[in-house]
């Protein structure tokens, strides 16, 4: 039993934090997320060279052959600075390939993903707030040797930046992932509260794909990928939550009102303590969930629901209190606290809100 990170994982964390500080500070985050492409090729290439895009891709496909517990080290540390690079989307897409594709398909997809040459994202459900195989409405119908697609996939993360997209569809033989290139489809930005997490709809009506671009996917595999999305999102909530807590904690020590630092008042310090308790707790649950992905998949569903079920509401409150405890400066556009509040809103429904996960815990726990 050892619930700690290895020396290598700690070094990886340091590396990501240094990258965020030196190469991707908040001024750059703001520039990238306000640009039309919402993407920065140069930074992406740096992330690729550091190996972060192939962490969980096996070595024979050009990756590092590590596990999700290593991946979340990167996701957490990058989210401390609200990194706008589609690292989570790339990881989910490569996990989807590893889960659903044949060896030949893996060989054709994964090396370019590990090297950063191809940006790929994953779009699963067609309805907001519905995690269920029935919420996949887009379809693929037989069309000669290949398939023709129908539908419009909403809320696809990082779709504008992606070269290729893996989109869940109802195929002739059940669920499947349709692989499409950006030139085949129409991608329309869907601006949200959080510009560091760009989202878009993808129109696939009438798009023709070859037989090898439809990857069969079971309902269990869809559920697994959804849960991996929950782990990735929660890891980012750990990093972003820690950052706004640190920012607010520092401000409370320096801001003097009524002759003393506001952190000396229990109304302030107790809120900070509660933020710490919540962050610490969903952090522990998140690390355990990330460990189950590779080492105990039968525990994954419950572990993710514990982590995301806790984090969804807790991080939302941390965002609100982080801004609120700052007072007026907290909601000033030039000040960074508000960006974290926006991230907390973005993360809340992603891969299931707290109600979804609490209900699933009740079911898995025999109620």
């Amino acid at each position: 039993m050892n619930f700690g990170f290895t020396e290598e994982q700690n070094l990886l964390k340091d590396q990501v934090q240094r990258f965020m500080k030196e190469a991707c500070p908040m001024s750059r985050v703001r520039d990238i997320s306000n640009s039309d492409s919402t993407f920065d090729q140069a930074l992406w290439q740096q992330a690729a060279e550091l190996g972060w895009l192939g962490l969980t891709i096996p070595e024979n496909f050009g990756g590092l052959g590590l596990k999700w517990i290593d991946l979340i080290v990167v996701l957490e540390a990058a989210a401390e600075g609200l990194c706008p690079l589609p690292i989570a989307s790339q990881a989910l897409a490569s996990t989807a390939i590893l889960t659903c594709a044949s060896e030949a398909q893996k060989a054709s997809w994964l090396p370019a993903m590990a090297s950063g040459e191809a940006v790929v994202t994953l779009g699963l459900y067609d309805e907001a707030h519905w995690i269920n195989p029935a919420a996949v409405a887009a379809s693929a119908k037989a069309n000669g040797e290949g398939f023709v697609l129908q539908g419009k996939k909403p809320f696809v993360n990082d779709a504008l930046a992606a070269d290729s997209l893996l989109l869940a569809v109802q195929g002739p033989d059940g669920l499947a992932l349709a692989a499409v290139g950006k030139d085949q489809v129409t991608v329309t930005a869907q601006p949200t509260i959080d510009s560091t997490k760009p989202m878009a709809s993808v129109d696939i009506d009438g798009v023709e794909i070859s037989g090898s671009d439809l990857l069969p996917m079971s309902e269990e595999q869809l559920a697994f990928l959804t849960d991996c999305g929950g782990v990735a999102t929660t890891a980012e909530m750990v990093g972003a939550g820690a950052a706004i807590l640190a920012m607010t904690n520092g401000y409370a020590k320096e801001r003097i009102q009524f002759g003393k630092p506001i952190g000396q008042y229990q109304g302030v310090k107790h809120r900070l303590a509660d933020m710490f308790v919540d962050l610490e707790s969903y952090r522990s649950l998140c690390y355990f969930a990330a460990w189950t992905v590779d080492d105990s998949p039968e525990e994954l569903a419950k572990a993710v629901s514990m982590a995301k079920g806790y984090a969804s509401d807790a991080f939302a409150q941390i965002g609100i209190d982080g801004v609120g405890l700052h007072g007026a400066i907290g909601f000033t556009a030039d000040y960074d606290a508000q960006l974290y509040l926006k991230r907390s809103k973005w993360a809340r429904p992603m891969y299931g809100d707290s109600d979804y996960h609490l209900d699933r815990i009740a079911t898995l726990g025999g109620l």
Partner: protein
């Protein structure tokens, strides 16, 4: 990161399980002197004071094995490993760290053998959360100290033989943390008077204690004069992982789920009510968070990294669970949930209604939730003291 146990740890777990299977019969089959036999047997196994050094009668056991031992014992709902909870939790460790050789020889074996029960004389009528401001006075008079003052809310005082007592030996100090001295005092010493206090659950577990010209020999002082605060803080820090508590809370959660399955609200199964499902799930998440927080802190301890005050995180979770779970069970059961033990309609023989009145034992003892928040904000987050 690895949540698997080593073969040695697994075989230790097996050993504990086999021991329990052999020595813990169901309640209705237990002989009259069961508890005495049980205590002797766990003592013979070396499981009392498991992580204490061998030279003091412990087993030098590892932290993980200790966690396994606690976990298995509370899974089996076994009786405690000794009758002096406080003796094992902090009085013993305090004596081992600060006591004289004579004190170690005199007190440690009796704690391990469950011969002596200890209580803890900290709170006073005017000083509970502000513990360091205590006023109970001890004056050096030749070969003994003369103690005068009052303690209150002292859990276990009505049946304990000894008390670890916090007094003030110096009133002319700039910091209230100075001038405090710790003593080990027999409860039957002349001048010690115990008056039990009934709590809202109807029990007389705690008491007020009056000390009038009580003579305490100098050799019963624990640590140096004026060093009492240090002794106390390090004693309170002796609580290790909360694994045992987690297992108890999990068992309580299982009982709560059974209750949910057997309960109807407004004519419909309670288990279909979204509010009920989500409330129970929140309890389950909190208990899991305690478990994995505890394992992270345990790992830190094993690696030799200092723990600051992280245990306060789990204390806050435990406090809210202790208050909310019984309360929810009562709410779920409507009027029947209000019935007391022995009542005709009492739900689960009144255990929930009892629990709903008993939470202050755990929630207030050892520092209220607001004190835990102060500790987190000041010691971990570095905010200025009030």
């Amino acid at each position: 990161m690895d949540f698997d146990y080593t073969p040695d740890e697994q075989s230790f777990r097996q050993e504990v399980r086999s021991f329990i299977a052999e020595n813990l019969p169901p309640k209705e089959q237990r002989e009259k002197n069961f508890l005495g036999t049980w205590l002797e047997k766990v003592r013979a196994k070396g499981w009392v004071g498991f992580a204490w050094p061998k030279e003091f009668g412990g087993s030098d056991g590892g932290l993980i094995e200790q966690a396994i031992l606690k976990e298995e014992m509370s899974l089996a709902k076994a009786p405690p490993l000794g009758t002096s909870m406080m003796g094992l939790a902090w009085v013993g460790p305090g004596i081992m760290e600060y006591g004289t050789e004579e004190q170690k020889k005199k007190f440690i074996p009796d704690i391990l053998d469950s011969k002596v029960t200890w209580c803890t004389g900290y709170s006073e009528p005017n000083h509970g959360s502000d513990l360091a401001a205590i006023q109970c006075k001890a004056e050096l008079q030749g070969d003994h100290y003369l103690v005068n003052g009052q303690k209150i809310w002292t859990t276990g005082a009505p049946w304990s033989q000894w008390i670890i007592l916090l007094t003030r030996t110096d009133f002319n100090v700039t910091s209230k943390h100075d001038g405090i001295t710790c003593f080990l005092v027999p409860m039957d010493a002349p001048g010690v008077e115990v008056r039990p206090i009934q709590n809202m659950a109807g029990d007389k577990h705690f008491a007020e204690i009056f000390f009038t010209d009580v003579q305490v020999p100098v050799e019963n002082r624990l640590g140096a004069e004026g060093e009492g605060w240090k002794v106390t803080v390090s004693a309170l820090a002796n609580e290790r992982s909360s694994i045992g508590e987690v297992t108890q809370l999990q068992a309580k959660l299982d009982d709560l789920k059974t209750l949910v399955k057997n309960t109807k609200r407004q004519g419909k199964p309670a288990s279909e009510d979204p509010k009920v499902r989500r409330t129970v799930a929140k309890f389950e998440i909190k208990i899991s968070a305690m478990k994995y927080n505890g394992l992270r802190y345990l790992t830190k301890q094993i690696k030799g990294e200092p723990l600051t005050s992280e245990t306060s995180v789990n204390k806050l979770h435990r406090a809210s669970l202790e208050i909310e779970m019984d309360d929810f069970a009562i709410e779920l059961s409507g009027q029947a949930g209000l019935q007391l033990r022995g009542g005709e309609e009492a739900v689960d023989n009144g255990s929930w209604s009892k629990g709903a009145l008993n939470w202050p034992n755990v929630v207030i003892g050892g520092g209220t939730p607001n004190i835990q928040r102060n500790i987190i904000a000041e010691r971990i987050l570095g905010q200025p003291k009030d």
